[in-house]
Symmetry: C3
Subunit: 271 residues, 3 copies
């Protein structure tokens, strides 16, 4: 369960930055938590530590986040963290999920998702926190917040992030129906910014990154904050209440039962 950090340096041919004081460093963060990059508590913690290190290392100005697990970007939240545990654990886990969203959504770095696999629920959320999304053109690589299909409800900040990305009406329909969009539809609805042949996803992410790094960094960061702070503030002011809501919801017998049934089904599939 390791995050492989591979550092690449881009050559940016034409860079009218205000000053040349920073190096143009891009980290490629490959998620490797087999088999499906579940966002377990341990994995989320590692992801956040990596992000923090990269943000504190002046060498880096951009991250490309991608998967090292074939066919799966990330399967989303780890249901085993939400099933058969005690309330304290659920609270701790949910706080880590909030933290992931807050830190990625507001990161000063340029964050680009090179989505090389399916990305339901929390996997989709992670990609929605990025500044740009490139999706591999494979009909199996569906993306969406499909929580309702499991009988659970995306919290308001998942919803806000989706509304910010694809607009109110599309979000309303997608969230209620738990839609998972294949690449062509994902592009049309605005869930991703670009769909590319699978073998060009990484190189496309790199050239898009070059375009973003070409912008004076401080002005770009302030503009990102301008756009995203109000949405993040909604969670920040209700963070504890949101944790309590989650714990109360996930502790319900009916929810535990359906998550358990779902996990059993997954195990049988594997077995």
């Amino acid at each position: 369960m390791v995050v492989v950090r591979h550092c690449g340096y881009l050559t940016v041919p034409n860079c009218p930055l205000l000053n040349g004081e920073f190096t143009l460093g891009v980290a490629v963060v490959k998620m490797r938590n087999p088999p499906v990059n579940s966002l377990s508590l341990e994995f989320l913690t590692e992801l956040l530590i990596s992000l923090e290190k990269l943000e504190n290392d002046k060498t880096f100005h951009g991250i490309i986040i991608t998967s090292d697990c074939p066919g799966i970007f990330s399967a989303g939240l780890d249901l085993t963290e939400m099933c058969g545990r005690d309330p304290e654990h659920y609270a701790e886990y949910w706080k880590a999920v909030q933290e992931m969203w807050l830190r990625f959504y507001l990161s000063n770095l340029v964050v680009i998702a090179a989505i090389n696999g399916v990305s339901p629920a929390g996997g989709c959320l992670l990609s929605l926190t990025c500044d740009y999304r490139v999706l591999a053109n494979n009909p199996k690589y569906a993306i969406g917040l499909n929580e309702t299909l499991l009988g659970i409800v995306a919290p308001f900040w998942f919803k806000d992030t989706l509304v910010n990305t694809i607009g109110h009406r599309s979000a309303e329909r997608a969230l209620q129906l738990g839609l998972l969009f294949p690449p062509a539809e994902a592009l049309r609805v605005g869930m991703v910014d670009q769909v590319m042949p699978e073998d060009q996803v990484q190189s496309t992410a790199r050239s898009v990154m070059a375009q973003w790094l070409d912008i004076p960094d401080h002005a770009r960061q302030l503009t990102k904050t301008l756009m995203r702070k109000p949405t993040a503030d909604r969670l920040l002011t209700e963070r504890d209440a949101d944790i309590q809501n989650f714990v109360r919801f996930i502790c319900r017998d009916s929810i535990q039962k359906s998550l358990h049934a779902y996990l059993e089904k997954l195990k049988q599939k594997k077995g």
Copy 2:
């Protein structure tokens, strides 16, 4: 002036619902207030009673709302309720219009509009409260909030509903110009979700309904509330002020005069 309620039962072939405790019942509500399905006080009251009965009857999980008046879905608010009456009547009427919007917009049932005729102003609003809109592909069946054409102004919650559906810029233009969109344009701007040949509108509404009922009901309802409650709350917290605004506006001599002139024109057309 009757709402015909026809109960149909859908066959849903593949239903991975959390539990099978509810029957898959869909009510088809056909509006029959000839000649144009005006939303009179009496008709609104009947519509609301029908909705409440269906919501309380555990047999039903979805409503398809459609018209029994050829060529007209609903002509919208009944101008005779807004012209030549006393302020108490205007207040009572407006409260019923608010109630229609609130109850349909937040209904726990899946509500799908099978729009088989023209739907201006209040008729359009009714369809905008639904979860999905299928419009018959007849160039005469225009849809839109055309209040300005009558010299009146859509209240803020009509506006909010439209912005939620087609976005701020399209709503700004459509509301100011009182645009009535023919089917192709209605689809393009997002006023409706699907345009179908007239004889397939009902069957399309049914198969879309099957897709919506396929979702675990409780999670879908909570998600709908998550999306719509903030918009509904805006009216709920200003409901009395909104009634007073309406009464004050509609009592103006200039407004009464132009509504009267418009009604006379309609009568001459008929005569």
Copy 3:
């Protein structure tokens, strides 16, 4: 440095207005502040005085705003007003920029932009305050809020106006990257409403104006206010703080240095 005001009268063939008490007058405001229609303090003041006169003159119900400088609609804010002056001057200038936005965005007149040249930054903002935008189909005539490219940040009300026009996600990307959209892209993203051959821009603006003036004026004005007041109120309640923010930001050594460098580059180009 003059605003040429040319008064034209439209013939509106079919005008179902509520009453015929107003004349159908349209003013064509041609901006002439060579070479690039910079929005200097003096020019902004003149523009605002012209707007006020037109609003107080009952003859006029619409303005077409266009440029008299070949190839440039407006280059936007005048950097010489923001560079090498004292804080009092910056505050006065910023107040005038706010005033332009507030007055045009909320104008009771129908305001249509006939964009016959490039319109970056403040030039774009001016066009975004209009009710409708027609852009000449010349690949050089790019439009956008490109502030980040100069190392500065669009204030929140520029951002709000852009979000209202093209939606949250497109605005987020456009603002961070400082995108200048050529006509085809500007149309696709919704930055303008129509792209026309250069020699038809003025006539198109006139016929669009006829459509807008065809709407009962009072109802249209109230609807415009309904749509735009909440956005304008955000600035109105924070107007002084916004001025102070601007002054503090623009007084920074690093910002002054980069604006100065940019101005020097512009001078060399000309020279």
